[in-house]
């Protein structure tokens, strides 16, 4: 049932059961809030979204209050604005005010609020939590001094990722967001997905930066910096700068990175092709031995989750290394252009939309004799920062000639950048592997209903193979539980991505709090897919050549596989 409410004397048509805040936002009325997140149950904790309702004594929080017929509300009366200002002033009471030195300078919701509320001086003073900084994690840096206790990270960690690595500790003005026994994130159950960073309104949660490490290598003559570009990273940059396939974003990035001082530049799509090839082999042999389902292994946050919470599943996870590690391995040990170069001279830097990759690159399994396969990991955010500090203007470079191709890859890499893409790439490759060049194209059509299970059953030859894909750990866990409960055996391959929407929603993407960019990035990725040289990993001559060379030595294929182990953490 719909009825009319009056907002600042303007009638607005609303549906029964809606809460006020989404209605106001839909009608272009900006309501500040720090605790509200789209898709989550509103908590009314920050109280910044207060509005005045005619006939009510107190101000009410619009995020939790349902619409009523004929209600008259004011969103910008003196009383409302004064109340909001007082709230922001109190949020600032224990804030360090070090905006100039803050990672989120210029992109901080608290900074915006202070500006919008016209706050000119500090009214309240309170103890700062600067002594509780946590550098322990390889991916996420926490600074409780900048935390405004909005609850968003805690909720994402618990409700979306099912991990609960952080929680409100203590009470009243002593409250901090912390992990159990005030220990560091490194011993907590944190899976390094970085979703907390994506929702943090301030600089309380940021990634562990590798910029300085990389910068010092770029300047030194002792080391050669090698850039490994993940397709999801290329997609994200293209989406950010609104580049189309015709602008050849990959070639553009190659120019940019060469300008920055990288000596060699690789497209991680090659590694993605190898990953698809090897994971398909794993799936085929599992099908033969009746050991399905096989879970994908390319997402390091999902792997850490499985190691911590679902160790009984580890043997069903494919042991193929992730594209980042495969690429690092090849770049360091097996590159074509490699002369008698000392391996120690190469310094591999991967560019990914992920912060869990920072953890992955430091895993013991991914090193050999103390040498890492990937030495540093740069997230999309860090890359944007590097662009600015190097004074490189991407839009200007568009006019320069960018014809040095890197795209000797199949679309698989780009497909791995969004949820469901990898399952599709595997399905096509299974078909190719069974029938070779004469394979009939298969139809992989995902269900269109938003609520339906993300499953596709594909008939390949005589056999019907079930593919499924899940993103976000809660969705994944619920799906696993369902499979177990129903005792289903018809799903053979499950793609698992720890971030919602896959890498398109990764923890290393640019911060865009209220805008859901996942779908847009998926579209950009699908456009870039069309521009690749080969239409499937199986048709890539380069891959076949690489594989041929690698397969000559069984040890090398082994190097591209890894081991997982049960992890004992505080959980």
């Amino acid at each position: 049932m719909s009825f009319t409410i009056y907002v600042n004397n303007t009638p607005i048509e609303v549906q029964e059961g809606e809460t006020l805040l989404p209605v106001l936002r839909r009608n272009g009325i900006k309501i500040p809030t720090v605790c509200y997140m789209h898709g989550f149950t509103p908590s009314g904790a920050c109280r910044l979204c207060v509005v005045e309702v005619e006939g009510k004594r107190d101000l009410i929080t619009s995020c939790t209050y349902p619409v009523e017929p004929e209600m008259e509300i004011k969103t910008n009366s003196m009383r409302v604005i004064k109340a909001r200002k007082a709230l922001v002033e109190m949020l600032l009471a224990n804030h360090p005010d070090d905006c100039l030195y803050c990672e989120r300078n210029g992109n901080c919701e608290l900074q915006w609020l202070a500006e919008e509320m016209n706050i000119k001086e500090r009214l309240f003073f309170s103890r700062k939590n600067s002594d509780k900084r946590d550098h322990s994690s390889p991916s996420v840096y926490r600074d409780p001094a900048k935390c405004i206790l909005c609850n968003r990270c805690v909720r994402v960690c618990e409700e979306v990722q099912l991990v609960t690595a952080i929680e409100f500790i203590s009470r009243g003005n002593k409250t901090t967001v912390n992990s159990a026994f005030d220990k560091g994130l490194n011993v907590s159950s944190c899976i390094n997905c970085g979703q907390c960073i994506m929702v943090c309104p301030t600089g309380a949660l940021v990634d562990i930066s590798h910029i300085e490490k990389v910068q010092s290598v770029l300047d030194s003559s002792k080391k050669d910096a090698v850039a490994l570009l993940s397709p999801a990273f290329i997609t994200s940059v293209a989406e950010f700068f609104n580049l189309k396939a015709i602008d050849k974003p990959t070639n553009l990035l190659k120019t940019v990175l060469a300008k920055m001082g990288f000596k060699h530049i690789y497209h991680m799509g090659q590694a993605a092709d190898l990953n698809i090839e090897m994971e398909t082999e794993a799936l085929l042999s599992a099908l033969e031995n009746n050991q399905t389902p096989i879970f994908s292994s390319c997402c390091p946050a999902w792997i850490k989750y499985a190691e911590e919470f679902q160790s009984q599943m580890l043997e069903n996870i494919s042991h193929v290394k992730s594209p980042q590690q495969i690429m690092g391995r090849i770049a360091k040990y097996h590159s074509e252009s490699k002369q008698e170069q000392d391996i120690e001279k190469l310094y591999t830097v991967s560019f990914v939309p992920c912060v869990a990759n920072k953890f992955e690159s430091s895993r013991e399994e991914n090193t050999q004799k103390g040498i890492s396969e990937v030495d540093a990991v740069i997230s999309v955010r860090e890359f944007m920062k590097m662009l600015r500090s190097h004074g490189i203007n991407i839009n200007r470079l568009l006019y320069e000639k960018n014809d040095k191709g890197l795209e000797y890859v199949s679309p698989a890499g780009y497909q791995m950048g969004y949820s469901g893409g990898k399952a599709e790439a595997i399905a096509h490759h299974v078909n190719h592997k069974i029938f070779g060049k004469n394979a009939e194209p298969i139809k992989f059509s995902p269900p269109k209903n938003p609520g339906s299970k993300r499953e596709v059953k594909v008939k390949i030859g005589e056999r019907e193979i079930g593919f499924a894909w899940v993103s976000g750990i809660r969705e994944a866990q619920e799906y696993f539980d369902l499979l177990k409960q129903e005792g289903r055996k018809d799903i053979h391959y499950i793609e698992v991505m720890a971030c919602q929407g896959g890498c398109a929603g990764g923890g290393g993407q640019p911060i865009a709090t209220y805008i859901d960019k996942n779908k847009q990035r998926k579209k950009t990725g699908q456009e870039l897919e069309k521009n690749t040289t080969y239409d499937s990993p199986g048709k890539s001559e380069k891959l076949q050549k690489l594989l041929g060379a690698l397969k000559g030595d069984k040890g090398i294929i082994e190097e591209l596989h890894t081991q997982f182990r049960k992890r004992d953490v505080l959980k």
């Binding site: 618990e158 500790i169 159990a180």
Partner: protein, 159 residues
């Protein structure tokens, strides 16, 4: 897991989230405080994240995370005590004992806990040491009391 803890768990067969706080109370009654190990075991039993339990337990003043000292000092911080200067008494105690609220000193002799009203407002400010009450305190009288306990302790230790 020891039998003692097991028998506490057995009193909560439903393993519900609501059982958490009563269970923590029982554990603290038995063990004197909530150690890391006990919290982890509780988490496993109730299938609740350790972080969540620690968050709940730190929210309430009632729960302790370290053992009590031989002499457990409870300082009243109710309204009457507050206006009669319990704040000064607290800083004096912290200075004397080198511990803060909720802590136990290195030798396990003294521990300090700030509590809400003890119910003797007419005698404010006051502290309670192992069920003995010391009332209408000043910095000087407090110093003497602490000194007395120190001497008692070292006498026992020497004999």
């Amino acid at each position: 897991m020891d039998d003692q803890l097991l028998s506490i768990f057995e009193q909560f067969p439903n393993k519900q989230r609501d059982d958490l706080i009563p269970l923590l109370h029982k554990i603290q009654e038995e063990y004197g405080y909530l150690s890391e190990e006990l919290i982890i075991e509780t988490g496993k039993y109730l299938d609740i994240s350790v972080n969540k339990i620690y968050g709940v337990a730190t929210f309430y003043d009632n729960f302790r995370f370290g053992p009590k000292g031989k002499y457990h000092i409870r300082l009243c911080h109710g309204t009457a005590c507050h206006v009669s200067g319990s704040g000064n008494i607290l800083s004096e105690l912290e200075k004397q004992l080198h511990i803060r609220n909720g802590e136990t000193d290195k030798n396990g002799v003294f521990s300090l806990e700030v509590v809400s009203c003890i119910g003797a407002c007419g005698l404010a400010p006051l502290i309670e040491i192992n069920d003995e009450y010391y009332t209408q305190l000043t910095s000087d009288s407090l110093q003497k009391i602490i000194q007395q306990y120190r001497e008692n302790h070292s006498n026992i230790y020497e004999n």
